[in-house]
């Protein structure tokens, strides 16, 4: 119990320090009634926020699985003994890591029309393709994370799987993947966290995700005469990104716990 009390005290102290810092930095008083009146956020603004949050979640759910899928296979093919697999994925990874994701987004939006899934309207479809491009960008980073993980599994572990009669896919699934994931998960969590924030680049091609929604609303603010709404607005947007991030990193942490091996805490391999 004293531990919980200590923790509560820590958190309260941190919140107070943070509030004081914000007040000092932004030079407005939290005890000012006008500031709190800003909470009378127009209903349409709030609606825009929820729409933005939903879109960010949606893009996250496109980008992370895309990244994992291609990252896994590129990472795997880079350690392949067959050069016709390892070479092209090496080139792709180098290319995708070397180009700013913003440029990829713009290219995909304007020139990716051939890849628009049927049934989507051209505008939403082009944004979908742009999100897919961000997925490929993070896939390149994830490929390197997977490759490092695969290469950390000792040769003897693979031979033991082969000696039992496992196929190369079974060796991957039963031996290499579970062992390499212990090493790969923390950097993967890092990469997820990066790419969630990278979805904000989609605002550049007109997506109304959190950042896009913020932009859209903030152009209306000067007309309203409530300049202090801007502070609330961007705080809310930042909190939105934080929430999505936090949910994903917690999930990764939970997976890490499940892959922990007794007797090997803190040990490599």
């Amino acid at each position: 119990m004293p531990r919980a009390a200590l923790r509560a005290a820590e958190v309260s102290a941190a919140v107070l320090v943070l509030l004081a810092a914000l007040q000092w930095a932004f030079a407005f008083s939290l005890f000012d009634g006008d500031f709190w009146r800003a909470f009378a956020f127009p209903a349409q603004g709030l609606g825009l926020f929820w729409r933005g949050l939903a879109a960010t979640l949606e893009f996250t759910l496109i980008v992370i699985p895309t990244g994992l899928f291609f990252g896994f296979f590129w990472g795997w093919s880079r350690v392949s003994k067959w050069r016709f697999l390892s070479w092209p994925s090496g080139v792709l990874v180098e290319f995708l890591r070397g180009v700013p994701p913003l440029i990829l987004v713009i290219f995909a939006y304007f020139f990716g029309t051939a890849f628009i899934p049927r049934g989507l309207d051209p505008f939403a479809g082009a944004i979908f393709v742009a999100a897919f491009a961000i997925g490929l960008h993070t896939a390149a980073y994830q490929a390197e994370i997977f490759r490092a993980g695969f290469q950390s599994v000792p040769r003897g572990q693979i031979e033991a799987g082969q000696a039992l009669g496992m196929t190369s896919w079974q060796v991957m699934r039963q031996v290499v993947l579970p062992q390499s994931m212990r090493l790969s998960l923390p950097p993967l969590g890092n990469e997820f966290s990066n790419v969630i924030k990278d979805t904000s680049l989609l605002a550049a091609v007109g997506a109304t995700e959190l950042f896009g929604a913020g932009l859209e609303f903030s152009v209306r603010v000067p007309l309203s005469g409530h300049i202090d709404w801007l502070f609330l607005l961007w705080t809310a947007i930042a909190a939105g990104y934080f929430l999505v991030n936090f949910a994903v990193t917690r999930l990764v942490r939970a997976l890490e716990g499940r892959l922990a091996v007794p007797g090997m805490e803190g040990a490599a391999g």
């Binding site: 000792p154 003897g156 572990q157 031979e159 033991a160 799987g161 082969q162 000696a163 039992l164 009669g165 496992m166 196929t167 079974q170 039963q174 031996v175 579970p178 062992q179 212990r182 892959l259 091996v261 007794p262 007797g263 090997m264 040990a267 391999g269």
Partner: protein
């Protein structure tokens, strides 16, 4: 059961196996002796195709297995292997190490696999370590689990690649006891080892290799007491000193 004919293997420029012929009958325990670099481990690995032979043939029950039409997995599922460094799957418990081949390769049901896994771990004296992970076991215990893992596949033969070289004398003894009882039960075994006492008492035949060739083979008594080849005489002399 296992027949090797005219086997050659090159690693780059090095000619590791220079025309090896070997026949192992059912129930036989063949111990491969020889100086390091003789090609003993490579020969063993050619039998279960962990190393692909460059020339020559490996037969398992009359079927030529180093053939494009034969899947290496099919061969390996029938021939067990025990490694010098155990190579237990570090992320699985002792029991799961033993059962993973059954459930994933042989597609045996989970409860049946567990029943057999428990029985095998009992047999190697580790019935109380089912849920331990490799990192929680001693070297000798790990090697016994790995023998149980190889046996779980009900192999036609088991290959042992220096199974006690990484162990303290005390652990070596417990592993050799398990191997001896396995030999008594009629398991076909090909063993690369430097354990002379085991070779003398358990082997049905000693095969002596040097520089990629088999120089001499014979019953243990004849091999140790009256070696014919000059290299063998020198080898026996050094180990008896």
């Amino acid at each position: 059961m296992i027949r090797v004919e005219g086997l050659h293997k090159w690693f780059g420029e090095t000619h590791v196996l220079r025309g090896v012929d070997l026949e192992v009958a059912k129930g036989e325990v063949v111990v491969l002796l020889g100086p390091s670099g003789a090609g003993k481990s490579t020969l063993l690995r050619c039998i279960n195709l962990l190393v692909e032979p460059d020339e020559g043939s490996v037969f398992l029950d009359g079927v030529r297995v180093n053939d494009r039409k034969i899947r290496p997995e099919w061969v390996r599922a029938q021939v067990g292997m025990v490694f010098q460094s155990f190579n237990l799957f570090t992320h699985l418990t002792a029991l799961r190490n033993v059962t993973v081949g059954l459930t994933k390769v042989k597609k045996v049901g989970a409860s049946e696999a567990e029943r057999r896994g428990r029985a095998l771990l009992d047999r190697v004296g580790l019935g109380d370590k089912l849920d331990a992970y490799p990192a929680q076991l001693s070297g000798g215990q790990q090697q016994r689990v790995s023998i149980a893992r190889a046996l779980a596949m009900e192999p036609k033969a088991v290959l042992f690649d220096e199974p006690t070289s990484a162990l303290d004398p005390e652990y070596t003894r417990e592993v050799l006891e398990v191997m001896t009882s396995l030999a008594r039960d009629g398991m076909t075994m090909v063993v690369v080892s430097h354990e002379m006492a085991f070779a003398r008492t358990v082997a049905s035949r000693i095969v002596f290799m040097a520089e990629g060739e088999i120089l001499e083979e014979g019953a243990p008594a004849a091999f140790f007491e009256a070696p014919k080849h000059k290299r063998t005489q020198a080898f026996v002399k050094t180990i008896l000193e």
